[in-house]
Symmetry: C2
């Protein structure tokens, strides 16, 4: 059976690959859409993703997914949180590790929000993974902060894992499995 | 002559005081409006302020000002930039100084954008001030990163200056003077 296609408003190949690894189990796959993504500035990832998905749906007039994720470091008051991508592009992993020099509490969590906008409204699926920030980057897979995030239950960083293994632990894998559940229950979005 | 009132979508008393110190020279003052501020996530302050001002105008049906500002640190790739307020609330001045430990290049600039939305559209006024990040916080006036910003032409931080002196140098003072110029030329916004 051929997988049904849902559009996703991203050009991040890693995100697409990770989500597709999960969605194949329910007979779907995502493909990038050329929609500009209007992001609202909010401390809630849910708001950012839902709003962007609605905007993309209005532009495309087809069901569309937006995924937004953030890394929340406990000792830094949740920083970089909803602005993880901007922070990654400016101070990067090096800056993050500098902020955590001599900081004992390395606890952090990743959160992913998948928003699916369709003719019936917008559905929001979330996934969270707790873990710690490594002392040094390890691994070359994945993207973003993956080289310094070690999820609970593993001694590897996300960047040391294949997609399938990362998805077992990851925030994005969990959110994508929630999306699968919804698709199984309600069928193809329109 | 009594000053004409323009609404401003902020609850930050420092911003209001600084803008009013300039606006009195052209016969206006701003007063806080109870409009929720929808911020778009953009790397351009102009977009954030203009969009928020339009939203506030639509909600209030009266001319309204939004001021948005950011601190751009050269050695940090422009960080914290448009997310200065969020970064201040999480890692704070302490985090910023930690990122700059052993960094020789302390150059930074503050930028302020004042957007005025009215029945004729939206006007955007900007002001920039170049300077350096101090080694340690000094002074207790102002707000945000003021204790660590030393503008070119002074040896004081913004937090060591009275409002009037800060306005002579500051990004916000410059943007407010641009607004004054516009108000003198076009009269009260409707």
């Amino acid at each position: 059976m051929e997988a049904r296609v849902i559009l996703i408003a991203t050009t991040n190949k890693h995100k697409i690959e990770e989500i597709n690894e999960v969605l194949q189990s329910c007979g779907y796959r995502v493909e990038p859409a050329a929609a500009s993504k209007l992001e609202v500035q909010s401390n809630r990832l849910e708001d950012v993703a839902a709003y962007a998905a609605i905007q993309a749906y209005l532009a495309l007039q087809r069901p569309v997914i937006v995924e937004d994720a953030g890394l929340f470091v406990e000792a830094l008051g949740g920083f970089p949180g909803p602005y993880s991508s901007y922070v990654f592009k400016t101070i990067g992993i090096r800056g993050l590790l500098k902020l955590l020099e001599d900081v004992e509490n390395r606890r952090a969590y990743f959160k992913s929000v998948i928003a699916l906008a369709h003719s019936g409204g917008v559905e929001v699926f979330t996934g969270t993974v707790h873990g710690v920030i490594a002392e040094k980057p390890r691994g070359d897979r994945g993207f973003g902060y993956d080289p310094v995030f070690i999820p609970e239950g593993s001694s590897k960083t996300f960047a040391e894992m294949e997609t399938q293994e990362k998805n077992k632990f990851s925030h994005r894998g969990k959110a994508a499995r929630e999306l699968c559940r919804w698709l199984r229950q309600y069928g193809p979005p329109r």
